[in-house]
Amino acid sequence: MTLDIDTLLDDPATRILVCCGSGGVGKTTTAAALGVRAAERGRRVVVLTIDPARRLAQSLGLAELDNTPRPVAGIDTSAGGALHAMMLDMKRTFDEVIEGHATPEKASQILENPFYQALSSSFAGTQEYMAMEKLGQLRAQADAGEHDWDLIVVDTPPSRSALDFLDAPQRLGSFLDGRFIRVLSAPAKAGGRAYFKVMSAAIGTATGLMTKLLGAQVLKDVQTFVAALDTMFGGFRERADATYRLLQAPGTAFLVVAAPERDALREASYFVERLEDEGMPLAGLVLNRVHTGPAEGLSAERALTAAEDLDDAGEHALTAGLLRIHADRMRLSEREKAVASRFVQAHPAVEVAQVPARPQDVHDLDGLRGVGADLARSGQPVLSV
């Protein structure tokens, strides 16, 4: 089935579009292309990008990373739309969350804590968590009327697995809420009194060993961090939960982006199944960087045989070269079709849009418009199964 992108973009009920998929498949490109297209069709859009390629960032006016959406120049606003774009600064987002939840003294105490600094800049999952947090903020700003955005397009972090985006916030939460941390910060809270007695010897040993291994300072940093966070912790989790619910709410649609390669489509499959389990609405699959050709009727084999015949005859070297280019492309295309049709067979209800591989990177507004047009191209031949 073909995915009808324009209907999705034009529908005022579509409020949040999340582009997910494994790394390098074109999530950022797709998110930016959707933003441009929606804006030029009249939506008031904000795009949250995570790690745009340098030149793409420049052409969106994102040279400066200030964690706030900025208007994108060069957008055709004649249909009444507008485009803002921003690039996520995860550490800053985390800092702002802390600042927004604690008294100034307490906030600076946390921000200076070495454990917090490590957590906010390097913990696997922080980026996903902060992407969610930022999405929640943008939506809240829109709802509060601070901005007139009516569509938020979200890119997701370059994780190796598409599922990280959904799982990381909870994972981070449960680490911070983990048993050993609670033991460290307040041993008595880890269980009832009886439990505490039984466990206290073990806890003593464990704490002793960890102190030897890591040093007393680390454990102290963790303790002060958790203690400082304790009062705002509830609010913290509630926020993450609220954003997660936002993803389940009507108005949110997910687009899973994949390249026509085995690994990327395997991840896409997991994601599609996961969305189903969570009751989250999947708009469709974007199959990006597909090698299609204008001369599909000529098979790789025939083209190669013909090229060899010409070479044997010692003439028409140019035509032989063109036939080899074609044969190479057809081979690639056949391989891509084979993996893609396996996905289609496994998920027949998932709507698909295909974006051809461009010879070059997509790094300016025109490139993004081109990708947007490809995404929307209706009546595209659906992958033959």
Partner: protein, 367 residues
């Protein structure tokens, strides 16, 4: 050394050498730890495996270690998931052996505790209470020290063998290849010393971090970068070279992966991109090859003219792509590192393909 100046886009293989086993001429004499990084998906695992095979060939023993808990080695060599144990995964040409190891930080931590504190059953208790999880996931830097530490240990491990009557000591592995995290995380990952500054000033983890850093900064180590000829991976490669040099880690070679040979000579490629190829020549060629009639089976229009237009359009894209790759290759070469090229293999990567890539790496002097 592989040539470091600009090279043309055509194949550039050196003649095969015929040196006795153990005395190969390589760009990395004395290097025992090869760390392979690159942007995600560029072929780190593939290149690391091919390099490990190449280093094993001719009767050597190498270890390929992965550190991201993804069982990429098992998948690549089509063997069952690797236990936390060095496992032979392939033999190399000329009788070498390739071992694989999936480093697991939790198991590595328990190893340590056992080694330094003779824990016995207390290790289980640590797990139960969440302390192992804590130390391997959120105590800053510890996880990376544990992962690199295991690899460090494998590089340094020695064994005593009987050679005739005499007892000889030698390293267990002639070389260790680490399939490392991607460029975005590599500096932090390898800079273990810096990462654990907040930790105990003494104690096994700290000492370990110091020893690891000493090895990694020495000429026993080379950090190789894998890239494909596209903007983002090339940019990340250049950034990584700068960052690695800043922290004093020895940058190794650049592995240019998935290289495709151009199908036309440079002048024709240029003309193709400009759209000024000789169309009538193509029409003649198609006629000579007997192509371009309407296909009765599919009803597709494959008449000469339409086919010529289609082929010219594909050629234009090809020309544009080759030009872009040429620019990106120039960027990579300007880094001034030894460069090795690995072709895009049409059939994908299986064991046979790995042998082929290993052979090419050997010929180019990477191993």
């Amino acid at each position: 050394m592989a040539s470091q100046g600009f090279r043309t886009d055509s194949a550039r293989r050196r003649p095969a050498r015929s040196l006795p086993a153990g005395q190969r001429e390589t760009d990395w004499p004395g290097v025992r730890l090869h760390i392979v990084t690159g942007k995600g998906g560029t072929g780190k695992t593939t290149a690391a495996a091919a390099l490990a095979l190449a280093l094993a060939s001719g009767g050597h023993r190498t270890l390929l270690a992965e550190v991201e808990g993804r069982q990429s080695i098992a998948r690549l060599f089509d063997v069952p998931p690797l236990p936390y144990e060095e496992t032979k995964v392939a033999v190399a040409p000329g009788g070498g052996e390739l071992y694989g190891l999936a480093v697991d930080p939790k198991a590595a931590l328990l190893d340590y505790l056992e080694m330094f504190y003779r824990l016995g059953r207390a290790g289980r208790m640590l797990e139960k209470i969440g302390a192992v999880d804590f130390a391997t996931t959120i105590a800053p830097g510890v996880r990376d020290v544990l992962l690199t530490g295991k690899v460090y240990e494998a590089v340094r491990r020695r064994e005593t063998i009987r050679d005739g009557g005499a007892e000889v000591e030698r390293p267990v592995y002639d070389a260790v290849v680490m399939d490392a995290p991607p460029t975005g995380r590599i500096t932090r990952f390898l800079n273990v010393n810096e990462e654990v500054v907040g930790l105990a000033k003494v104690g096994p983890i700290r000492n370990q971090a110091n020893s690891i850093m000493t090895l990694m900064r020495s000429n026993l180590t080379a950090v190789h970068l894998v890239s494909v000829l596209e903007e983002m991976p090339v940019q990340e490669t250049a950034d990584a070279v700068t960052e690695l040099e800043q922290i004093g880690l020895p940058v190794g070679g650049v592995f240019v992966n998935m290289v495709r040979e151009p199908f036309l000579p440079p002048s024709a490629l240029e003309a193709a991109t400009r759209g000024s190829l000789d169309r009538s020549e193509v029409l003649d060629g198609l006629a000579a090859a007997g192509l371009g009639r309407r296909s009765r089976a599919t009803g597709n229009d494959t008449s000469h003219a339409a086919l010529a237009t289609a082929l010219l359009e594909e050629a234009a894209g090809h020309g544009e792509r080759v030009a872009m790759e040429h620019t990106e290759r120039g960027e990579l070469l300007s880094l001034g590192r030894p460069t090795y090229e690995l072709p895009a293999l049409a059939g994908g990567i299986d064991l046979g393909a790995l042998y082929q890539l290993a052979g090419l790496l050997g010929e180019q002097g990477a191993a």
